[in-house]
Symmetry: C2
Subunit: 330 residues, 2 copies
């Protein structure tokens, strides 16, 4: 146990208290577990609400702010938030223009967001929904019917968030969110297992000297386990797995994402290999983001997400964003 | 070995290639190991150059850009860069207004930056220097005469960088850098040892269930080793250690820094405890930064840096910055 915590039971609440102290731009309701843009609801603007189990930080709370999410609902570690949180978030951010739920495809999240959508609509909030299911590693898994939702969530939240900030109506924001999800695919690799606070030991066994190709962000099994590979070999495998499923006819945005415990120096080195494979495959890269964005607590490893963009999606990607974890533009 | 690398020998070069691909705003000279603001030299502006061993990313390359460093010189992992790199950086960024070297207090860095200052002056570059020595854990250590330089480096680079961006002359930028260093103190804690690529195994032995109080950013020994403590207890120890040495009469900026492998969720929770101790001790907190900024590869753990600020330093802290790792304002 090498955790910087008090007791497992308070990890999420402690994290929210610390987030509130660090980010006065956010309104953090620690008791009800909702993180909201302080200026919400924004007159005439569609609200964007996401959420999911904790342990993937900065996703989702770190993406709340102008140009991205209006609110986030953190669940317990690796556990879906409950409908009450989502309804509270939806009513807090709805200006009358409606709210888009951005839902990673895990059974608990899907059920709870569906229930929350019904409850919010009962309270007069128009609700749209985008299901994120970008992970090409496996179809169906421990917590999923169909593909898992991982790195593409960042693209959906950023690009749909920019559209909402520009004043697009709910139907358009929802359509853009779906377009982004359909344009994005991911593949992840674990170099170590993940330890949750409540278990206190690795949730799966990954012997030293082996890696797991196609890992999920909760440590769900991937495609296969192999003897340790070089950064070059991992990039070949991961990028090719993505490109088997996504055949981009135009430029992509590349997210080279750390799982949590892999040093930034290594992620940059891995990015060099990812860019090499993309160049070899003739895929143009419009933008690249390298860092820990969609994590799995203390897991070592990485994932690659590619998102094909047209001019409009690229413009929305470049639009200003002011959140704890993504900030650029005015 | 759970590293995302090709071979240990190319880790730094691979990282620089990946950084170049991700950040077109930077000019990255992979062969000569210098990262420079693309628009350098900026007419009339003092240049800021820092550097040090690799393995502490995003420090220093991630802090190159408008409002912060003009250039960074990465050495091999945990090894000082050489004078040639520093001279190359200094001549690349000097507009005639002079260059400030920001040097963490490690024997190799100090010697090499001193030599580089002489060589650069021979080439007609005026050079100022700030030595960063904020770590209160130990006086003298494995690689240091006097205190080690750690988290305060970020404050010196940001605040002196903002002064330079405003057009302050070299003497003033240097004086501000020194004032920041004198106003800042740090204390770090390791929950696990660090593994360097060349060694391939932990550089020191830290049994599971123990932590090291006062660790250095290369895994240098700290003050003492104890049985695992809670986040609350660690915050009490670390903040009190800093406040024994720094007696702030005004507000501070708090950096709650991850060593590399500690999840952001835990760092936020730790921040809640740091803020509690500061409130108990009557220290006002003007700004807080939480994340992995001055790291030690895959070490788990954290450090706390407090920097006392007056109105002018706080204004310079808030001034716009556009670097890979710190971005805010216009």
């Amino acid at each position: 146990m090498r955790m910087l915590i008090n007791v497992p039971e308070t990890v999420v609440a402690d994290g929210l208290r610390g987030m509130a102290a660090a980010h006065p731009d956010l309104s953090v309701d620690v008791d009800n577990r909702v993180v909201v843009r302080r200026d919400a609801p924004v007159e005439g603007k569609v609200g964007l609400v996401s959420g999911g189990g904790s342990g993937h930080e900065p996703l989702h709370g770190g993406f709340v702010g102008p140009g991205m999410l209006s609110a986030a609902c953190p669940g317990e570690v690796f556990t879906s938030p409950v409908p009450d949180q989502m309804v509270r978030a939806a009513t807090a951010v709805d200006s009358g223009a409606g709210v888009l739920f951005i839902v990673k495809n895990y059974t608990g999240d899907v059920l709870n967001f569906d229930m929350a959508a019904e409850l919010a609509e009962d309270e007069g909030v128009r609700v749209g929904k985008v299901l994120v299911n970008d992970d090409v590693a496996v179809v169906d898994s421990l917590f999923t019917a169909g593909r898992r939702g991982t790195g593409a969530t960042l693209f959906v939240e950023k690009i749909a968030g920019a559209a909402a900030e520009e004043g697009a109506p709910l139907e358009r924001v929802e359509a853009i969110g779906r377009q982004v999800n359909e344009s994005a695919r991911s593949f992840g690799v674990a170099l170590s297992a993940v330890t949750t606070p409540s278990k206190g030991s690795p949730t799966f066994d990954l012997p030293d000297g082996e890696l797991e190709l196609g890992i999920g962000i909760h440590g769900e099994p991937g495609r296969e386990r192999r003897a340790m590979m070089t950064s070059r070999e991992i990039a070949d495998f991961a990028v090719n797995a993505v490109l088997e499923d996504l055949n981009p006819s135009g430029p992509v945005i590349a997210l080279v994402n750390g799982m949590g415990a892999t040093p930034l120096l290594e992620l940059y080195g891995f990015n060099a290999e990812v860019q090499r494979v993309l160049a070899e495959r003739g895929v143009a890269v419009a933008r690249t983001l390298v860092g820990n964005y969609v994590t799995s607590l203390d897991m070592a490893g990485c994932s690659v997400t590619l998102c094909q963009v047209d001019e409009d999606l690229l413009r929305l990607w470049d639009a200003p964003v002011q959140t704890p974890a993504l900030r650029w533009g005015r």
